[in-house]
């Protein structure tokens, strides 16, 4: 594949020759070109839900009848898009290439002379038309569903104070292993995905991070040293230190020291305005 960025489709080289023959009619005018500024292209392409969607767009944009698609033209335009996507190294879903192959095949079959005497010759476009129509009706159905009034957008649940007898609403019981199993499931899912970052890590540091943060609640300066407790021994001190470092790395807390050897203070980065 050539590396150059195609900003405009190349003009057809056939010159005055018919551009395509569709239904026995020669079409000599090339289609309206489909210039799109390259930087807009990426955004633009993200709006397509796949090859069928792109094809529909091409057809609808030109007010073409879905039942009478000028295959040669549409194929050419489609290929231009696909080419552009490849040129800007867009992650091109394989489906787009499959469609390109299908279009090319239909096109070549349409260009073949028709044998009138062969009775059971299908219009090679029929299958494509069927798929486009089928897709389009669900595209429409999706819009319809989106327009249905729904809870939390058009209608809202009522919420009133309830005067009731003294009874406590029973809460669901959870056991520790429910949480473990849930976490195990997450790990499995993450495993199956790529390399999501759940590395092994000491949970105690995580917990200590929460502790340190609670100590800093209310926008107070807290002296660094007061976070450590000798009773916890060496391990405890290390865990606290690592928790503080981790919080600094996450930019959740700040460390302040007025001058060398002065006490070091910690504070939340810009205060907890809303708190809880």
């Amino acid at each position: 594949m050539p590396d150059k960025v195609i900003e405009k489709p190349q003009t057809p080289r056939q010159g005055e020759l018919p551009f395509a023959i569709v239904h026995g009619e020669a079409i000599s005018a090339p289609p309206e070109d489909l210039y799109i500024p390259p930087d807009a292209l990426e955004v633009f392409l993200e709006t397509f839900e796949g090859p069928l969607d792109l094809l529909l767009y091409l057809i609808r944009r030109q007010n073409l009848d879905i039942l009478d698609i000028p295959i040669a033209e549409i194929t050419k335009q489609y290929m231009n898009y696909v080419e552009m996507m490849r040129n800007i190294n867009l992650d091109l879903a394989a489906e787009y290439l499959v469609m390109a192959a299908m279009l090319a095949e239909i096109k070549s079959r349409m260009l073949l002379p028709r044998h009138e005497e062969i009775e059971d010759e299908d219009d090679p476009r029929a299958e494509l038309v069927r798929r486009l129509q089928e897709y389009e009706r669900f595209k429409k159905a999706a819009t319809d569903i989106d327009e249905l009034p729904r809870t939390g957008r058009e209608n809202y649940a009522t919420s009133v104070d309830v005067i009731r007898e003294d009874k406590i609403k029973p809460e669901p019981q959870v056991e520790l292993r429910d949480i473990l199993m849930a976490f195990q499931d997450i790990l499995k899912q993450v495993d199956m995905q790529k390399h999501h970052e759940i590395e092994r890590e000491e949970i105690s540091i995580r917990e200590r991070m929460t502790h340190v943060l609670s100590r800093l609640e209310g926008d107070n300066f807290v002296e660094f040293q007061t976070l450590f407790s000798l009773k916890e021994g060496r391990l405890g001190v290390v865990v606290t230190l690592m928790a503080v470092l981790e919080l600094l790395k996450l930019k959740v807390i700040d460390m302040v020291q007025a001058e060398a050897f002065a006490p070091i203070y910690l504070k939340p980065v810009s205060g907890l305005e809303e708190g809880e």
Binding site: G50, R137, A141, A142, I145, R153, E154, Y156, T158
Partner: protein, 224 residues
């Protein structure tokens, strides 16, 4: 129980409920000595619905029962309780949902076939966690893929009593009409497809039948 009191008790129950309540459930709120039967309830619910027509909220009936909710015409004010805008769903999610609604029970592969692109796992997961869709069975083909269908909660969420109330699917135009010269065999096949489509589109009952539409075969029968 007097009709007037029954109406008030029902109001109090329904306005404080966090989910729609069906008549059966509502009956369970009453003791024997309340002397309330099904018909009393029905009548009271009907009266209640009538009495709230000119209010800021209304009593509606959805798939799982009766619930009070604010009226659509006041959404611009009500929505200001919350900082976040109501969630918007992607086209991919809505198209996937549409296929499950109108073509249930359907497998993921069948959805991909019609949409022409892969369906991401996170869309299926989101729909399941919203409790709009669920696995209703498995298709007896290699791999036994899950068959997906909608839930009652989906209907509640969209203010529907049953799937019948969904907007109907648009018609498919017939390619034959434009090209009468096309061969017979194709007409037959297209005819079949149409027939199948219309029967599916009715969505008669919400009971999911075991009939499985094999979209894949339809698609490929035309390949040569």
């Amino acid at each position: 129980m007097q009709a007037e009191k029954l109406k008030n008790v029902l109001e109090a129950i329904l306005i404080s409920a966090d989910k729609p309540l069906a008549i059966e459930k509502l009956l369970g709120f009453f003791q024997e000595e309340d002397l309330v039967n099904r018909n009393d309830l029905k009548k009271a619910l009907f009266d209640l619905q009538q009495s709230f027509t000119n209010h800021g909220f209304e009593l509606i009936e959805t798939a799982s029962g009766y619930r009070f909710q604010t009226k659509e015409e006041y959404k611009q004010w009500v929505t200001q309780h919350w900082d976040e805008k109501p969630s918007k769903y992607s086209r991919a999610l809505l198209e996937t949902l549409a296929l499950i609604v109108y073509r249930q029970p359907i497998t993921r592969a069948e959805i991909e076939d019609i949409r022409g692109v892969a369906v991401s796992s996170h869309i299926i997961k989101t729909l399941q966690e919203r409790d709009w869709i669920r696995i209703v069975g498995h298709k007896e083909v290699p791999g036994r893929p899950s068959l997906l269908g909608t839930t009652r909660h989906f209907l509640d969420y969209f203010n529907l009593k049953s799937l019948d109330e969904m907007p109907s699917l648009s018609e498919i135009q017939d390619i034959d009409k434009l090209y009468p010269e096309l061969d017979l065999k194709m007409q037959e096949e297209l005819g079949n497809i149409e027939q199948e489509n219309t029967t599916e589109d009715k969505l008669g009952s919400s009971t999911i039948s075991e009939t499985i539409v094999d979209g894949k075969e339809q698609t490929q029968s035309k390949q040569d």
